[in-house]
């Protein structure tokens, strides 16, 4: 069995070589000078609490710039995340990389309400409650330069959950702390909520329709979750793919549980990995999760009338397998019956 220490060492090497860009949310940089690379996010759900772990790493820029992340509910804590949770998940679901080495409410009217302020390394985190205009105004007043699609996207989220996290990254402070460009600061939010969802549309904020949105989303749930849109459906969703869906092994759960703030990881869980790789025009929805296996909420996914995209017409793979399995014997019996009748039927007169 692999041990955690070699895993951690390999993770560091992996970061140096592959740099799985860790960041999250819609990035608002001064004059677009900062680039957001692939996003890696982890959403664990256990005992009615979502544990949302993401990391912020920015590729370039000076001074301050920030990120805006919609949340499904009000977090009870925002703290520095563990050091290896995201990287450990990358290794778990992309073993070829490991081997190569060893071969991530109602809104008050008026102004946005500041619910929480936390400083983590060079990040200033603020949790806000408010409608789209209020949160947008707060962001503008605090130096965020919002792109032209921001008003619509903020309403898209605020109409369903008026909770947002802003993260302002002080590049100068980071440099003073010895952080290099590309270093990620993991942030762990604990969010009691009925059903978790992961914001995806925000990743397309400020992008032109043809620009690519890339993200890896890891889910750890008690049971196999139902997702909307379903990346594993027979006719999948443009821009989404189900890369991993299996019961999490004990080694992975032990490793995750040993990271900072991850004591909640249960004894048994299901690990899912969804890759988002589509054009900004395609990513007009979020990822709704029903951790109990029932139908995920179209509202949580932001489909029409809450967003521009209609609910997709998808057939779960399980139904297709079931239909084929049940249909084959019936089809076989029908064919056999037809053949039998054909043999027993005399030719038509004159044939």
């Amino acid at each position: 069995m692999r041990r955690l220490v070699p895993v951690a060492a390999a993770t560091i090497a992996l970061l140096a070589l592959a740099t799985p860009a860790l960041a999250c949310g819609g990035l608002i940089g001064p004059n677009g000078a900062v680039n957001l690379l692939r996003t890696t996010t982890f959403a664990g759900y256990h005992d009615g609490v979502e544990h949302y772990v993401t990391a912020f790493a920015f590729a370039g820029g000076e001074g301050e710039f920030g990120s805006l992340v919609p949340l499904p509910d009000v977090p009870t804590s925002v703290e520095r995340g563990g050091d290896w949770t995201l990287q450990r998940l990358v290794l778990e679901t992309e073993p070829q990389l490991f081997l190569a080495e060893d071969a991530l409410l109602a809104a008050p009217a008026g102004r946005a309400e500041v619910l929480m302020e936390v400083r983590i390394d060079a990040l200033d985190i603020t949790i806000l409650r408010g409608g789209g205009p209020e949160v947008g105004a707060w962001a503008t007043e605090h130096g965020f330069r919002l792109p032209p699609d921001a008003p619509e996207v903020l309403d898209f989220y605020a109409n369903r959950s008026p909770i947002f996290m802003t993260a302002v990254f002080d590049a100068d402070a980071a440099a003073a702390r010895g952080q290099a460009v590309g270093d990620g600061t993991p942030v762990h939010l604990t969010i009691p909520t009925d059903d978790p969802w992961v914001p995806l549309r925000i990743l397309a904020l400020g992008k032109a329709d043809a620009e690519v949105v890339e993200a890896d989303v890891y889910l750890l749930t008690d049971h196999r979750p139902a997702l909307l849109p379903d990346p594993g459906a027979v006719f999948g969703t443009d821009g989404m793919a189900l890369l991993h869906s299996a019961r999490a092994n004990d080694l992975l759960l032990d490793d995750l549980r040993s990271d900072k703030g991850m004591e909640w990881v249960p004894e048994h869980a299901w690990l899912t990995k969804v890759r988002v790789n589509g054009s900004a025009a395609d990513i007009q929805f979020d990822l709704a999760i029903n951790a109990h296996g029932g139908a995920p909420s179209a509202v949580d996914a932001g489909f029409a009338p809450y967003g521009p995209a209609p609910v997709p017409w998808q057939i779960p793979t399980a139904w297709v397998v079931l239909t084929i399995t049940a249909g084959l014997p019936v089809l076989g019996m029908w064919i056999a019956s037809s053949v039998s009748r054909g043999r027993g039927t005399p030719p038509l007169a004159g044939a």
Partner: protein, 139 residues
């Protein structure tokens, strides 16, 4: 990304054009002044097609419902070519160049002496490409 073209918006545009056309054509005497409201929401002008009479003062009421700053600059192709590469952070000294702060309303009055077509555009970086463009026809 752009998501416009809603039904109510089209209706509003049609009504605005119709009102302006009535003002121009229904009476033999030109109106003394015209007042037109332009709502800016989700980084789009509504209405984006306007027709006005020439030699009549037109007051544009620019209502910015967005939490971000916008501009309303009106002129011909050469005027906009100049502003695309301009560096002025704010406008307001000239009636054809207006900056509208977030969630605010601005007014400006102009008279157009020559018949023809002009464009009104928001020249905040990225906004024109996003679709913040409208057309004003002077008859």
């Amino acid at each position: 990304m752009r998501h416009g073209g809603t039904g109510p918006r089209l209706v509003t545009r049609a009504v605005a054009s119709l009102v302006a056309a009535v003002l121009i054509g229904a009476c033999s005497a030109a109106p003394e002044s015209v007042r037109i409201e332009i709502v800016i929401r989700y980084s789009a002008f509504d209405p984006a097609q306007i027709t006005v009479p020439r030699d009549v003062p037109v007051t544009f009421v620019l209502i910015n419902e967005d939490p971000i700053e916008h501009e309303w600059l009106i002129g011909d192709a050469a005027f906009h070519a100049r502003h695309r590469t301009g560096t002025e952070p704010h406008h307001g000294e000239r009636p054809d160049e207006v900056s509208i702060p977030p969630l605010a309303t601005a007014e400006t009055t102009l008279a157009f002496s020559q018949p023809g077509e002009l464009s009104f555009i928001c020249h905040v970086p990225g906004h024109e490409a996003y679709g913040m463009v409208g057309t004003l026809v002077v008859r």
